[in-house]
Amino acid sequence: MKQLAKPSIGGFISKYTGYVTFVVMVIVLGILTRGGSLRLLSWQNLAIAESVRAFGALGVGMIIITRGIDLSLGQVIGLSACVSASLAQTPDYVSALYPGLDLPAIVPVIAGIGVGVLFGLFNGFLVAYGKLPPFIATLGSMTIAAGLQLIYTHASTVGSLQNEYKKIAQGFLGPVPNMVIYVAIAVLFLWVLLNHTKQGKRIYAIGGNPTAARVSGIAVKFETMKVYLMAGTLYGFAGVLLSSRLGLANALTGDMMELDAIAAATVGGVSHSGGVGKIGGIIIGVLTLGLINFGMTYLGVDSYYQLLVKGAIIISAVYLDMRRAA
């Protein structure tokens, strides 16, 4: 069914399904909670809860656009959280990983991002130059990151972080949580990159048809590597935000977050067939799943059933995605 230039309600809904779904869900939830979910506090909570996942989903979303996948996301975020936390502990904390260490907050931030960068390079190298299937390559790096987390933290919690460091993620600018500002910056950057730069066009081209992309002169390996590197950088920063927000990190931090992020990107319309996906869609995907989590908690839905609902939504999203792609 081809839409003509004439605007129609059906065409609008069809084009912006994700956004319309989200808005309708907000309204329905607002009614079910008798306005409770519409208050500013609820929005702040939702935004804070989903910010870290948003970084993960943006990273893996770009990778999925290139027909890849990244299972290492959760563990890399976790490792970054542990490393950054270990450099931000209060100096007088006796159980600190490095007792007495007192560094300005920028050091743990850079270290955490560094962890993400290294894993991004590693994944990108394995996939682009080593020609490993992304699923397997990142399964390997996921396991390595999980092992490093345990070794680094001695399997204990890295807690008692300095207030200055905690403010990075816990602070507010007026009514807006800092976390939201970071996500907004990342979104803006990636949106410009994907929509208004040659590199963005190359990423879509690689995902759409890698052979054609190579023939048309795109350095597919190098570009693929760059996508994994960018994703890794996002994970690194996500890890920093997570430890800053929690005021701690342990070996379970970030566990299984890859599944949430992949689900959010998928629900947000990023196609696993490659070449299709928008930054706005990914964010809507994150918010949609976040709203479902939030709504079910608010309504007191039994936690066990929450998993069923989430699973059903992911399966339907992928099913519809496949039908669209076919």
Binding site: T17, A155, S316
Partner: protein
């Protein structure tokens, strides 16, 4: 594409309608329960007890399972607080997070009772309405050490395997980094050392709480270390039973011709004792068959009831300070273990006793 929207809406409406019923009862006492992970037997039992008590008292219980994710637990707390829930029962994911949890609840003028994972001293110092209703994990490890100390005192010849001067032990750990894994392990090791044993770790690895993984690990170790270890210590009963199965299958018993016979009179048919934690019904049954040697009961009913009663008193009477919960009085003087070691908050600590389950008393724990 509209189908996608339909699916979302249908799911949300069904979920909402099915559960929004409880929301309509205004004026009902509301208690929030933040539970770290019901995959674990103890926590699952704890949650079930809470649900039962809430029904009994006509309390609306909003129980949330964070599935081991501290960030999710914090989100759940924020959501419940934004709804006006003030009083909580908390099984946190980690001690280090309890301070922040308490501060958030205090900011709303509420209170909380912490179970299973100890709150920090800082968390209890946030206000008088924050309580410990728990048996610290490390005590489970200490009781394991105590049970083994008594076993080896009674049967010193059982120390002869491997290094005859040392207690040669094999350890099966839960998920690494999990608080129950860390605390139980450290405590049983320290307990054995404090009891005067030279501890020699023959082999140690995680089996992620799972019997099948434990069985596979034990199979490998039996091939490598047969005759070189005195004891198998597991962080939970599931893994202990996996090890027991492995030992039985390999014929690592007193009398391979009759594997149901306790030849040396140490109370078990296996050559070495295996100990766990939890006192699950399967484990107690295994003890009756003289396979598993001992386990430790972390009292889910006691902890959940104490915590619930504290939260209930706060919600209905404004405070629970100094009152009895589940028949327990708060501590009158500090003890050695954090957070009850700080005199300033000892009066907010309700210690639910752990129980050693041994061949002498296991019958009391059979349902």
């Amino acid at each position: 594409m509209k189908k996608l929207m339909f699916v979302f809406l249908a799911v949300l409406l069904v979920a909402g309608a099915a559960f929004a019923g409880g929301q309509q009862d205004d004026g009902k006492t509301v208690i929030g329960a933040l539970i770290r992970n019901t995959d674990e037997q103890f926590v699952a039992d704890y949650a079930d007890v809470l649900k039962g008590l809430a029904e009994e008292k006509g309390v609306e219980l909003n129980l949330q399972d964070s599935r081991g994710d501290m960030a999710l637990q914090l989100d759940q707390l924020n959501t419940l607080l934004s709804q006006g829930v003030k009083y909580f029962v908390v099984v946190s994911n980690t001690t280090e997070a309890t301070g922040d949890i308490a501060k958030k609840i205090q900011a709303q003028g509420g209170g909380a009772a912490f179970s299973n994972i100890q709150p920090s001293v800082e968390a209890l110092k946030v206000g008088p309405n924050f309580y410990l209703a728990s048996s610290p994990e490390s005590v489970a490890g200490e009781i394991q050490a105590d049970i083994l100390d008594k076993y080896f005192k009674a049967h010193p010849e059982k120390l002869a395997n491997g290094d005859p001067d040392a207690l040669d032990a094999i350890f099966l750990y839960g998920q690494l980094g999990h608080p129950a894994q860390t605390y139980r392990t450290n405590a049983v090791k320290q307990g054995l050392i404090d009891a005067g044993y030279k501890l020699n770790v023959v082999a140690e690895d995680t089996a992620n709480w799972k019997p099948d993984e434990a069985q596979a690990k034990m199979d490998t170790w039996l091939a490598a270390f047969s005759g070189e270890f005195d004891v198998v210590i597991a962080n939970n009963d599931g893994m202990a039973l996996g090890a027991v199965e492995s030992l039985l299958t390999a014929g690592y018993v007193d009398d391979p011709n009759d594997p149901s016979k306790d030849v040396d009179g140490d109370g078990i048919v296996l050559k070495v004792p295996v100990v766990g934690v939890d006192a699950t019904q399967v484990a107690v049954k295994s003890m009756e068959e003289k396979k598993l040697y001992a386990t430790v009961l972390q009292d889910a009913v006691g902890q959940a009831t104490t915590a619930f009663e504290l939260a209930y008193m706060m919600a209905t009477e404004g405070s629970a300070t100094g009152k009895k919960a589940w028949g327990l009085s708060p501590l009158s003087a500090p003890i050695d273990e954090s957070p009850a070691n700080d005199a300033a908050v000892a009066g907010q600590c309700y210690l639910v006793p752990f129980k050693a389950v041994t061949p002498d008393n296991y019958k009391d724990f059979m349902n």
